[in-house]
Symmetry: C2
Subunit: 226 residues, 2 copies
């Protein structure tokens, strides 16, 4: 809030929290140093006493968000535990729509990220998977370990000039896409969340596909050496 308890000395976390609030409210592109400073009732350059630069600000923001991922209870069944942990991550990151883009743009690992990774890895290892398999399996999870599916589908149809978007030219030109789009629509359970697909369901589908595959490999003592 712009108009309330101003001036209780800044701090790194206060800056980060305000940045997160800003990004949550108006999107990542609306986050800039000037606006953020204003929101904190302070002059832009004041921020630089608490964050090194904007990169550092972004790093700090995901650091907080990732740090909030709840540590799920362990049942001793690795597949279930991994699943729960990843869905917990999803819950945290989903609260901050910008987090995906930021996380993917970062190249450095922060402590909180490493801690999460380490914990997840531990679930596999404790479950008896070899370090070798665990390594590959973590790669296979990829960014999905953070709980987001690879959007690329929420994409809007092109506003391309050479493109007669009008009427149903698209179904004509891309019949296969039209077919699966139709399939996504009509199943009796109304797909919640957006006009097409249930993102949560899609996410869990993919996650389970991976987990089941991993389980199979584990069961057959898979190893990377041919």
């Amino acid at each position: 809030m712009s108009t309330s308890g101003r001036r209780e000395t800044l701090s790194r976390v206060r800056v980060l929290a305000a940045a997160i609030a800003q990004a949550d409210a108006d999107g990542l592109e609306s986050l800039n140093m000037r606006g953020l400073a204003h929101e904190l009732g302070v002059v832009p350059m004041a921020l630089y006493k608490h964050v090194a630069n904007k990169e550092d600000l972004l790093d700090g923001m995901i650091e907080l968000v990732v740090g909030e991922i709840e540590a799920t209870a362990r049942t001793g069944r690795w597949k279930q535990d991994v699943r729960a942990r990843i869905l917990a991550a999803r819950r945290s990151l989903q609260r901050h729509p910008w987090s995906r883009a930021v996380l993917e743009s970062r190249s450095a690992m922060t402590p909180a990220m490493l801690a999460y990774l380490n914990g997840l890895t531990g679930l596999f290892l404790d479950g008896g998977l070899s370090a070798d398999l665990t390594h590959h399996v973590m790669h296979a999870l990829g960014n999905r370990m953070w709980g987001f599916s690879q959007e690329l589908f929420a994409a809007t149809p092109p506003t391309d000039p050479s493109f007669n978007t009008q009427k149903d030219e698209l179904p004509m030109r891309f019949p296969h896409l039209a077919a699966i789009a139709r399939a996504a629509m009509h199943p009796d359970r109304p797909s919640q969340g957006g006009p097409g697909c249930d993102d949560q369901a899609e996410f869990e589908f993919a996650l389970d596909l991976l987990l089941d595959g991993m389980e199979t490999l584990h069961a057959q003592n898979w190893t990377s050496i041919a």
Copy 2:
């Protein structure tokens, strides 16, 4: 080249090609309208006669790259065909390291992207998978359909202040990560490509994991309606 056959009237593709060359050579962050114009021996604003704005420039760039994905021959075995098609996409996009970031930042689908998607979808459908399963399966592939794995691992360790990166504090704090890192190292086949993992191998591992899972689901007539 700055010093050669200047002035043969611009065109959208010439602009796009120059932009791609620039991004290939010096990275995406070095791509700006002024530099690009200079490279083409023209004043910055001239570009705007051929691209609407920078967004449009980026759209055009991936459009070209995606358009270059080779259409792989079909064997009639869907799993194999999908695999080949995706690896072809990978080859194209890998030639342009910036393409991943651009592709993920775009929200609109361009004709070439739709065409690729449509083709890939067709492989599943022609292979006999239901539209329902195909739909979910495309989601599960996610961005991996473009042939990139979710990096997040090439990440450099943190330069964090509160972080004693010195010595081997990291292995102490993150023992599980250390374990799989070790596993990635020593297997006798020296992991090519980078100091850690063979990216190509990781990609194919994950892809095959998904494809095998899909095959299993297909074989048991999976459907989304519980």
